[in-house]
């Protein structure tokens, strides 16, 4: 079963890797993320949180790099279980990451809540970027231990 393979920490199948090139892809990315999170047993609240974070970072790809990729990985290594979403593009990169993570800072005329908002929504959040080097956002939502 594909689900069992994934929950053992194996990389998810290629279908869980999505090219982001139009606004329809942004919707698909957050829907796939929600489905995976549901399959993995996240609560409806967490599913929505994950979907919202994906929507923000996938839109950032579209706005700043025009094209990129979002991939999904389910992690379950005994100590931590959750979903990791990676958004990768080869766009212009972010010149000032610290500022880009401040609420209300935007270079696109948006609300400036995408990156800082996604960081608040997820449990782990990491950006690797640089001018001319593209941007990779890796973020995870972890499952709380069962009570």
């Amino acid at each position: 079963m594909a689900t069992e393979l994934r929950t053992r920490g194996a990389t998810v199948p290629d279908s869980r890797r999505l090219v982001i090139a139009t606004d329809k892809d942004v919707v698909s990315a957050r829907q796939i993320g929600r489905e995976l999170a549901a399959e993995f047993g996240f609560s409806p609240g967490d599913q929505t949180v994950i979907a919202a974070a994906i929507s923000e970072i996938a839109r950032n790809i579209l706005m700043y790099a025009r094209r990129g990729e979002v991939s999904f990985q389910l992690v379950n290594d005994g100590t931590r279980a959750g979903i990791t979403v990676t958004a990768q593009d080869e766009g212009p990169g972010i010149p000032d990451v610290a500022r880009a993570l401040l609420d209300g800072y935007s270079t696109s005329g948006g609300l400036g809540l995408g990156l800082p908002g996604a960081r608040r929504l997820m449990d782990e959040f990491d950006i690797v970027t640089g001018v001319g080097r593209g941007t990779t956002v890796t973020m995870s939502k972890l499952k709380r231990p069962q009570r």
Binding site: V49, S55, G110, G117, R120, L121
Partner: protein, 124 residues
């Protein structure tokens, strides 16, 4: 996916049926603002019950609808924000400040009716 807009009395009701792309949201904004004039609507209700996520683009677009409609003499109320959607919005820092909200369609209609009565009492 185009959002159907119903005319009910002096109000327009846009009932979102599924997840919307950014282009769909922008199209909804344009359609609502045009129809406020065409139908001389005094109120607009946007029912977001079926929306899977309210992210920063959706919030900005709905806020724009509200402000643009107000400039055209029409009040807007957003109804049907689901509890988990509200939770994610707050975490994202999206507050919909300056935008009226109501629990559901019924409450939204009651809100607009009350607004209409207030307007009559004030004589404008």
């Amino acid at each position: 996916m185009e959002v159907p807009i119903l005319k009910q009395g002096q109000y327009l009701i846009a009932s979102i049926q599924s997840a919307l792309t950014d282009a769909d949201l922008s199209q909804l904004r344009e359609a609502l603002i045009a129809q406020v004039g065409r139908y001389r609507a005094r109120g607009v209700i946007v029912d977001v019950t079926a929306l899977d996520v309210m992210d920063s683009f959706a919030v900005r677009t709905l806020r724009d609808v509200t402000h643009m409609a107000r400039l055209r003499g029409s009040e807007t109320v957003i109804v049907g924000i689901q509890p988990e959607v509200a939770f994610a919005m707050v975490q994202l820092g999206l507050t919909l400040k300056g935008v009226a909200t109501a629990l559901d369609l019924e409450e939204g209609l009651a809100f607009l009716d009350q607004r209409g009565r207030d307007r009559v009492e004030r004589g404008n």
